[in-house]
Amino acid sequence: MARIEVPMPQMGESIAEGTVSRWLKKVGDTVERDEPILEISTDKVDAEIPAPQAGTLVEVAVEEGETVEVGTIVAYLDTEGGAPEAAEDQEEDDGEDEAPSGDAATAVDDEVEAEASTEREEQESAPAAESAGPESAEERLKRRSTPVVRRMAEEHGVDLSRVEGTGHAGRVTKQDLEAWLESGGDDAPEAEPEAAPAPKKAPVQQPSAAPSGSPDDLWKRFYSEVENPEFPVREADRVESMDKIRRLTSDHMVVAKRTAAHVHSFIEIDFTRVDAVRRANRQKWKDQGARVSFTAFVTWALSRILREYPTLNGTASGNNVIYRGNVNLGIAVDLDPGLIVPVIRDADHLSLVGIGKQIMDLAERARNRKLGPQEIQGATFSITNPGVLGTMVGLPVIPKGTSGILGTGAIEKKVVVVEDPETGTDSMAIRKRSIFSLGYDHRIVDGADAARFLARLKEMLENFPDDA
């Protein structure tokens, strides 16, 4: 038997939360895969949420009438057979230690969340460390109540951390707040402070030889814990809690920036040759059902040269450098809002058309939230394309657990000076050019390596082979 989580699914791009309107199954009921187990409502739509797998409903985590964010676990199912055991106490956990692909941690796909969290338990330090911070885990969870509740609290001038939450993970529900207001709020005798129901198995802080505040402790906190300072809200402002994707992205970006010694270098690349190859083959590729984007060309070229620069295809790890044995390229996909980085595995074994097809497929499934957990993990190097939206160049953040990311700028027509190879005469020509940026971890990648890498990439793209 395996216990799996049923999260509130993403039912549309503008939908950040849903209200559980009705449980169609109760604890102990057996359900078929895809059989509806609950109904949610959002605006003027009611929708059935089907079971992700067959099994028995063993826990209902959110009551009828409660509004929860997308990604919140609403129920647990016990499944027969080999489904992976999900770590049930990791739901609020933000420390993503395993997934090395940068924004892998931002993916909130039901399966992804369930599986990605399995390996973290032992290194877990966040919840324990949290209680040492200025704000307890309990207080923090309570603040993560729904916008409706926070608005009510604001209207009545109630500090939510003083209200006992009976909702999921100790959240304060509308009913809790109403009961609190009825009972006279702060004037009522203080309820016995209870331990927050989640995290359910908060790891107990090991009685450690190092006292709090020791260098070890500080380093651990520096690399694993993210504290987000708060700012006063002004009258006309609107406050919304971050959804899960945003929270994971936010923490990952902070940790990534803190950890790697970011440096960026730029190079301008001429795309005239790539453009010609692309035009010449477009119809042929179309007949093969492929669309080979500029990103596909860049991905192909990168995959061919990364092995020559092993530190860029590796990562600093403690006092070691890990040189990765595979070339797995993470491609950032804009979900608007949000971002996910699906991974093309062993890209150096694929042809240009093969890479084009994979990018199409992964991007499509990323937008439909159909990626499996393995498809967003294990990147050894990443590509992001701010240029697609017209940006000249960007300074991308290096995903945690890697040492390089390439940012591709907009490809634009420019007037450039070209030299006639025979006469040596200079003249002006119109060429398609783009500025690329390479973000690299200066702990293990030297500036000259980065420069050589970019020059090699330029050479590759400007003399793109016919038989790629």
Partner: protein, 242 residues
């Protein structure tokens, strides 16, 4: 992000069957939809658009509050208004003769798995329909439905069943007797007027033309070809009528 309703067309050959069912009692229309949803899910029928009118009825969505019914039990039965609690989203509403009710039974899976996106699509269908008669319908942020200068002219309430199959839908006031809305707080929003096409135009457009336009516009938004069909899908024949 493309604007609502302007999505590119679906898979080629997608068909929307539009069916005019005339005056149908509310409970019967709900039962009919409940039988069509599994048929659509198993692809035994193409996308459907049921078009009909209801006899006087007040329906409560799952988000409804009884406090939004303003009429006494006595007056209600005198006026011949039924009450139904329904499994669609939204609050309380009124249906009655002169109101064009549309229940699309669609599979949203292929390309429009977005609950709010679907609401915006339905609004687009109605806004385009109104435009044909020169009425400027618009959306109001946070108040789903179609609004005009005189008030709300169309209401939405939708259900999406397992497998992204839709039911319930929209109600467009063509020449509805708006006095009946006085029996409720429409959609739970007080101080908001209700409008009809007749009130806006000074004369009622023919129901037959409005329903053809609605069917045509829904097909266009879905990127489907519309096929007018008579009565109920043949697939229902084997099953007992309710």
């Amino acid at each position: 992000m493309s604007p609502p309703g302007s999505s590119p067309s679906n898979a080629p050959g997608r068909v929307l069957e539009a069916r005019w069912l005339g005056l149908v009692e509310y409970g019967r229309a709900v039962g009919l939809q409940e039988r069509l949803v599994p048929l659509r899910r198993s692809c035994r029928i193409p996308d459907q658009l049921l078009l009909l009118e209801h006899p006087h009825v007040i329906t409560l969505g799952t988000g409804s509050s009884d406090g939004h019914i303003l009429v006494t039990e006595e007056d209600r039965s005198r006026l011949g208004i039924e009450i139904h609690r329904s499994r669609r989203g939204g609050d309380v509403t009124y249906h009655g003769p002169g109101q064009l009710v549309g229940y699309p039974i669609l599979d949203l899976k292929p390309d429009r798995k977005d609950l709010h996106g679907y609401l915006r699509d339905l609004e687009e269908v109605l806004i385009r329909t109104l435009r044909r008669w020169g009425i400027r319908g618009r959306r109001v942020e946070g108040l789903t439905g179609v609004w005009t200068e005189a008030g709300k002219v169309a209401a939405l309430g939708v259900r999406v069943s397992s497998g992204w199959i839709t039911s319930h839908g929209f109600a467009l006031n063509v020449h509805t007797n708006l006095d009946y809305f006085g029996t409720i707080v429409p959609c739970g929003i007080p101080d908001r007027a209700v409008a009809s096409m007749e009130g806006l135009l000074g004369t009622a457009p023919p129901m037959s033309e409005v329903r053809l336009e609605v069917a045509r516009q829904l097909a266009e938004v879905l990127g489907a070809a519309v096929e007018e069909a008579e009565g109920l899908p043949g697939e229902l024949d084997g099953e007992g009528e309710d």
